[in-house]
Amino acid sequence: MALDDTKKTREFKVVGTRPDRPDGIDKVTGRARFGADMVAPGMLTGRILRSPHAHARIVRIDTSKAEALSGVKAVVTRADFGEVPEDVADVLDNCMAGDKALYDGHAVAAVAASSPAVARKALKLIEVEYEVLPHVTDVDAAIKPDAPVLHEGRQQETVPEGLSQNVIARSEFGHGDIEAGLKQADRVVGRTYRTAATHQGYIEPHACLATMGSDGRADLWVCTQGHYMVRNTCAAILGMEQGQLRVTASEIGGGFGGKTVVFLEPVALMLAKKAGRPVKMVMSRSEVLRATGPTSSTSIDVKIGMTKDGRITAGFAELRYQGGAYPGSPVDMGAMSGFAPYDLENVKTVGWDVVANRPKAAAYRAPGAPMAAFAIESAIDEAAKGFGLDPLEVRLMNGADEGTKASYGPTYPAIGLKATLEAAKSHPHWSAPLGENQGRGVACGFWFNFGGDTCVSLNITPDGTVTVSEGNPDIGGSRASMTMMAAEELGIPYDQVRTIIADTGSLGQNEVTDGSRVTFAVGLATIKAAEAAKTEMCRRAAMVWGIDEEAVEWEDGAARPAGPNAGKFPPMTLKEIAAIASNTGGPIAGHHEVNAEGAGVSFATHMVDVELDRDTGSTKILRYTVFQDAGKAVHPSYVEGQFQGGAVQGIGWALNEEYIYGDDGILQNAGFLDYRIPVASDLPMIDTVILEIPNPGHPYGVRGVGETSIVPPLAAIANAVSEAAGVRMTQLPMSPPRVLAGLQGKASA
């Protein structure tokens, strides 16, 4: 349970400073080992054969020629996998197609061979007979009753009669009376907004190295956001007991939610099992884009009712998200988070989860929220400017605060939304002059943040240095934060502690690194583990001094006698206690296992200036400032890094990134040439302002910050471009052709 005796008012010695990260030297010298950097003796190369069709029944797979090719050691198809539990059925089907290939790039077979060249030849020898079916890739088309159907019988009870089977679920949130609210409004802004599917864009393709013995015991080395999730999912798919599979997390080359699921791992293990040799699988960039987990493309209707003085009388949104070929788009979280920054009397959101012939959507940083914020914040901005009101003032007037009933239900505790808006108003950026063809946009954003299962083990070595083992892969510098929190709690210097990411054999179950949970939940467990170690060290000191345990307390890195009858003993430092550990009972450690709940939400306001080239429609980002509440910034540089990284992913999403499917349902831009993420020369510096409104649920007041930073940019940039262009942009990406069409007055682009 989260500790309630808040320590937020204390003076921090280590937390809040900017030490060098412990894994820095390996990463700048090239020694750090990522997914594709591991090799094993006798290792084979695994490759996957992927469907060239967007939708097709798999009539027959003939692997005989491939198996006959010299150098081929194993071939796997869905027939090699048995029945699996219901909660991993879709995961298996996505890793290896069953009776149907559901999207361009869907895996249908795999080989393991003695060399990459042999593996490539073997794939060409596998004969697959497809019965090509009609396909659908657009979310609004997939809903129509006559649309090609992907699944039978997956529609949930929440969906009214008469809609396509592709409509999986409907959900509705909010409170009050929308119709009444709309009537009170002096003006209603009503528009439809559309966003294209985007990919997390991590630079490291998926990779793993699997080994399985005939005794059924297996090892897996993999780049992932959660190696415990990989263990449990792979064990379920392969019908193994979890304890038989040990998964080691490599360094991870970016994830952003896209590596919170499995793609290659069950197939690599099956190949390794059949071949009796280790199998390494590394995806190509084109495989990553065609067949991993981009986020949803969306179609969203919004209505905002506003009075002349800027009060929002009604907020309505209907959100349609396609989550790829399987149920489970993040529409609910979009529907719940869209109006979360606001204190509304009448708010209603309706979410539709739809399937289409596209890769199965995985989480992408605050999944579902950026698209909802794009639509809702754009409509609020348009309504405010329609009355000539200041967009920051209107957001402040309607902003949520402590005691506000959130649009998704609960009443807020202390939150930082208004603080970010006030900080934005007083920042020089807000009052800086704008030139010709330039526009300034603002938008707010929110994310829930999570806790989840967490285990940390802290050990005192004989010479008094400290090792911390945690189970959450470190993407953005969390090993530094854990080292800082352990050092802070133990009262010793930062460089006396080393944090590592332990494999699944060394700790209990850990939730994936996602939901901006790591600094919150793993930090909490690290602090509790350090406290447990302090308690034991105080007990050892008490033994030596021959006094009662209760009469010893820990202060500034040493055990000290405390209380009236404790006696006068010089303090015993951590190093002194460690040196006599084996004399006083044995090695000293502290560990903590918890399902950390009660993570604090995090709000942000983003502000951006753009300049349009009216002849070509291209948009240049001139200035960008992020204002976000971090509760307590443990390592400010890495908090700033989360703000900057989220903002720039938002810039790519707003201006250039999109999944482009042809009429044939085939992905046309499966590479970094035409899937255009921002490059260094596209951008200005990204200025950041960290606000600290403590989260009562964490000993140091920490809130997760990793995800909120991607929520506001889509809307902030759309608001800026719309102002500069003088026409409301309602479709992402705001590519030059679209902006040019808008400038040429061809309706709102």
Binding site: G30, E251, G476, Q644
Partner: protein, 159 residues
Amino acid sequence: MSQLHVTTKINGDETEFLCEAEDTLLDVLRDRLGLTGTKEGCGTGDCGACSVAVDGRLVCSCLMLGAEAEGRDIATIEGMATGDQLHPLQQKFIEMAALQCGICTPGILVAAQSLLERNPDPSEEEVRYWLAGNLCRCTGYDKIIRAVMETAADMRRAS
């Protein structure tokens, strides 16, 4: 199919290897010579994670055949530090948190070193355009650009 025998110099060391004609220099560095510091992010010259210097010229090692290395002088990330003495860029990147996941860092460091060899006093824009071929998805580039420019300033002061 006979393999090619190639003699070259990597990070100052005479090096020989065998490779297939279609192996790229990146394949050779990683799979035959165990120098896994150079990374593959795309295999098509669009991400820069495989950047190396060949005879002092910054190139993508995924778009060069291993066979072309014959007689060349190749510098990879593994050669950037001298012993335990980090290159000023490597040190500055750590100090300024100019990396998060680190997969793009080797390529960016090699590219930035190549820039500072040619231009000891680059403007922000010059740094940004020189590094435009090195994609980073975590940092938004801000701290990377600042780290390169501060290192340039330090090196100018030191020289």
